[in-house]
């Protein structure tokens, strides 16, 4: 019954993904085409979602913008998982050691910084741009995954099947890979979708304040920033990019919830 969120979530995410991929091959209009005569048009047959103050097609810009959002958020999640999961596994397998202590204190430290603030600081120091946005967002994914992995792995390490593997002479690296990782994969997948959606929001916020992807690359946050001065004149400029963000994030969250319910063996047995 809980699975009702899986389908709408998957559909929304799929639509955004397809739009992003399609934009490599085809968009209704070229996003670099400036057509001042047709500026600030409200939605009509030619421009389904209208045009901006340079006469660019909003729908086309949204499609290309999806590319930026997804790429930034996806790579940031990759950084978080790639670094955080091994750290968490290592910390759990040496519980209470200096390594564990070091990793956990490091995590606490990162949590002490308001994430958006540091993202702003990093992009400000190293210069605005998509790559720096990815790094800034990715850094904050590391402790999230490290902490999650460590917590889940710790409870697994006390389980008897891990003891059995130790009695069978397996070392901690092998146990982590063979027994721990497969058993926390679901958890990581669900957290991955959540961090993905947070990444989309963070990217939008950074490009809104001008620290994300730089023009001429369209991005949803930047479109919102541009629309702000024109909000009384052309509210649709503010509405559509916002809706794109909301629907993408909503889709990812629904997908995450659905996946969690679907993958939870307790719920599955009841079906």
């Amino acid at each position: 019954m809980k699975l009702r969120s899986l389908l709408p979530g998957a559909v929304l995410v799929l639509v955004v993904l397809i739009a992003a991929l399609l934009s490599f091959l085809w968009t209704p209009f070229d996003v670099t085409d400036l057509d001042i005569r047709n500026k600030l048009k409200t939605p009509d047959g030619a421009h389904l979602l209208g045009t901006d103050h340079f006469g660019r097609d909003i729908l086309s810009m949204l499609m290309v913008g999806a590319r930026t959002s997804i790429a930034v958020a996806l790579v940031a999640v990759g950084i978080g998982m790639g670094v955080g999961v091994p750290l968490g596994l290592a910390a759990a397998s040496r519980r209470g050691s200096w390594l564990d202590e070091f990793i956990m204190r490091g995590n606490d430290l990162v949590f002490a910084f308001p994430s958006l603030l540091i993202a702003i600081m990093i992009t400000a120091v190293f210069g605005p741009g998509a790559v720096n946005a990815i790094i800034a967002i990715g850094i904050f994914n590391i402790p999230v995954f490290a902490r999650l992995t460590r917590g889940a792995a710790l409870s697994l390490w006390t389980r008897e099947f891990i003891m059995a593997a130790r009695v069978a002479g397996k070392n901690s690296v092998r146990i982590s890979v063979e027994h721990i990782l497969p058993n926390i994969m679901n958890l990581l997948l669900v957290q991955g979708t959540i961090q993905f959606s947070l990444g989309i929001l963070a990217e939008a916020a950074l490009s809104y304040v001008g620290l994300g992807a730089q023009p001429p690359i369209p991005s949803w946050g930047r479109m919102l920033a541009d629309s702000q001065t024109l909000i009384t004149l052309a509210p649709h400029l503010a509405i559509f990019p916002g809706l794109a963000i909301v629907l993408t994030v909503l889709g990812l969250n629904l997908l995450g919830d659905g996946l969690r319910d679907w993958l939870d063996p307790r719920l599955r047995r009841e079906r």
Binding site: F161, V167, H179
Partner: protein, 561 residues
């Protein structure tokens, strides 16, 4: 209404009682029971749980409800409390004290619960709210049902706690649950249940989670409460021995049905139903003991432990206080010879688990020597292959001891990793089939996942996993404790025949005295990290020397009478 309240204990006539109990005669006029269930059936989300449960209980009597896990005994109790989970549908009629509980509305039921009916649960560690002190939790019950002043409620609370054996000078009301032991917490739970002097007390496995000495104390308390307060007691348990001591009448449940019921003496002396017979047979089960080989005693010990000490660092209580350590295993020495079965008995927290881990080389030892066939096991993470090849373990929890994501073949084959040249392909496969069959499983089970098996089957698979490398010693860590009695008997039988066949040595670790007595040649009794008594199993059980052993053996409920 199969169980009548029964005549007074004095004029008991077993044969006729028994017949009456199993007939469908109506209740005797005048002796209206306090509690009566009539044809109660229950389903949860359309899964049937209880079928036509009928029973009665009179004031001042004790009714024992016996069943293995999943028999529906707890759901029967929750039906009486009308505290059923979501999606529950109940039919039939539950009468209590001239009221029909099944007709009452929620407000009336709230008034009844805790005031006229009290209930005690199995798990004392989690049954109390961790963020409220015990005084508040007990007095809440009083203030809810009696209109008394705050001071009066405090006084009654202190009095109630005294009644359950928690004197106020030692256990002030401001204590929090985490500052109490399991037995003490269970006493607080009992205090909550009896604070308003209920007419009926339902105890659902009240001692299952407790150590045997603590268990005896709680049972004594329930018995004396029942005598002094004249309440009706419904005692739900899986343990025949607990009921044997206390119940006037007995109901035996299986798969949501009552299979047999009647006065205790009738059921215990002349059980009728096949399942009841099985239950008794399994409880009294003694596998054929092997003859000890005379030569085995002369040979060098297989496992030799000398003056073993294991310590844990205790997290510092304060910033300026020195770090301390807790000595979990204190100067333990023991020998196990090839083919010998040695029992290690102790209550929870006595250091059994730490000792096990140290023997397996899974934790660092502070001092002392552990040797297997002359080779040291002393260094954690650095245990040699040859040691690992000779020692295996079977754990208590048949659910937690397998990786749920691997198939049985992979699970059973895992220890092969430790061999010098692990078999591959067909050889490996035939080895897996061989051990599976030797524990009474079939070759087809290889391709199943562990959740497809019952608890008893899982323990068989766990034994297969231990056997696959032909170890000389298997450590059985509470290996049958989580199993129902009938399944337990089968697993013990299997262990016994495997030992005879393969000349295995066992270290049998358990809190359950009866199990240890049945399957071991020698026994060690452990308390606070030390071995307080050792000797031949029978000698220790018949003539225990140490005070603690005596208490332990004396406290265990027994079936014989």
């Amino acid at each position: 209404m199969s169980v009548d309240s029964g005549p007074p204990l004095g004029d008991r006539q077993p044969a006729s009682d028994h017949q009456r109990a199993n007939s469908v005669l109506p209740n005797r006029v005048g002796a209206l029971p306090l509690l009566a269930l009539e044809k109660v059936s229950l389903s949860i989300h359309d899964t049937p749980i209880l079928h036509d449960i009928s029973l009665t209980l009179a004031t001042g009597k004790t009714l024992g409800v016996i069943g293995e896990s999943g028999s529906g005994k707890s759901m029967t109790a929750l039906s009486i409390m009308q505290l059923l989970p979501r999606g529950a549908k109940l039919s039939g009629c539950i009468r209590f004290d001239n009221q029909t509980l099944t007709d009452l509305d929620e407000a009336a039921l709230c008034e009844l619960r805790g005031s006229d009916i009290g209930m005690i649960f199995q798990e004392p560690m989690t049954a109390l709210n961790p963020v409220k002190n015990i005084g508040d939790q007990v007095s809440e019950s009083i203030r809810l049902h009696r209109t008394v002043s705050r001071d009066e409620a405090q006084r009654l609370t202190r009095e109630t706690l005294e009644r359950v054996g928690l004197p106020n000078d030692e256990f002030p009301l401001a204590r929090y649950p985490h500052e109490l032991s399991g037995g003490q917490r269970q006493r607080v739970v009992i205090a909550i249940a009896i604070a308003c002097k209920p007419k009926l007390l339902i105890a659902d496995e009240p001692t299952t989670a407790l150590d045997v000495t603590t268990q005896a104390g709680i049972l004594d308390l329930l018995r004396s409460l029942q005598a002094t307060e004249g309440l009706a007691l419904m005692l739900i348990t899986h343990d025949l021995a607990v009921v044997a001591d206390m119940a006037d009448d007995v109901v035996i449940m299986r798969q949501g049905r009552i299979v047999e019921s009647g006065p205790r003496d009738c059921i215990f002396k002349a059980p009728q139903h096949e399942y009841t017979l099985d239950l008794f047979a399994a409880s009294a089960f003694v596998p054929g003991k092997r003859q000890k080989q005379a030569s085995g005693n002369v040979s060098a010990p297989l496992l030799s432990v000398q003056n073993l000490i294991c310590e844990y660092p205790v997290s510092r209580r304060g910033l300026f206080k020195p770090a301390t350590t807790f000595r979990a295993v204190d100067d333990v020495s023991l020998d196990i010879r090839a083919g010998e079965s040695v029992g290690l008995v102790g209550e929870s927290g006595c250091g059994k688990s730490t000792l096990t881990r140290a023997l397996l080389g899974l934790m660092p030892i502070h001092s002392g020597v552990v040797q297997l066939n002359g080779e040291s096991v002393s260094h954690a993470h650095r245990v040699s292959r040859r040691v690992r090849q000779q020692m295996q373990i079977v754990f208590q929890d048949p659910y937690g001891s397998f990786n749920p994501r691997h198939k049985v073949a992979r699970l059973v084959a895992e220890p092969l990793h430790v061999l010098d040249s692990p078999p591959e392909g067909k050889v490996k496969n035939s080895r897996v089939v061989e051990v599976l069959e030797s524990v009474g499983m079939s070759a087809d089970d290889r391709d199943k996942y562990i959740h497809e098996f019952s608890g008893g089957q899982r323990q068989r698979i766990a034994i297969a996993r231990a056997l696959i490398i032909n170890p000389a010693l298997i450590i059985l860590d509470e290996a049958v404790s989580a199993l129902d009695v009938s399944v337990r008997a089968q697993v013990l039988e299997l262990l016994s025949s495997l030992a005879a066949e393969k000349g295995l040595a066992y270290l049998f670790i358990s809190h359950d005295l009866s199990v240890v007595r049945r399957v071991t040649d020698r026994v060690l009794v452990m308390k606070d990290g030390r071995i307080v008594e050792r000797g031949d199993t029978e000698t220790v059980f018949v003539a225990p020397q140490d005070e603690y052993t005596q208490a332990l053996i004396g406290a265990a409920p027994r079936l014989e009478f």
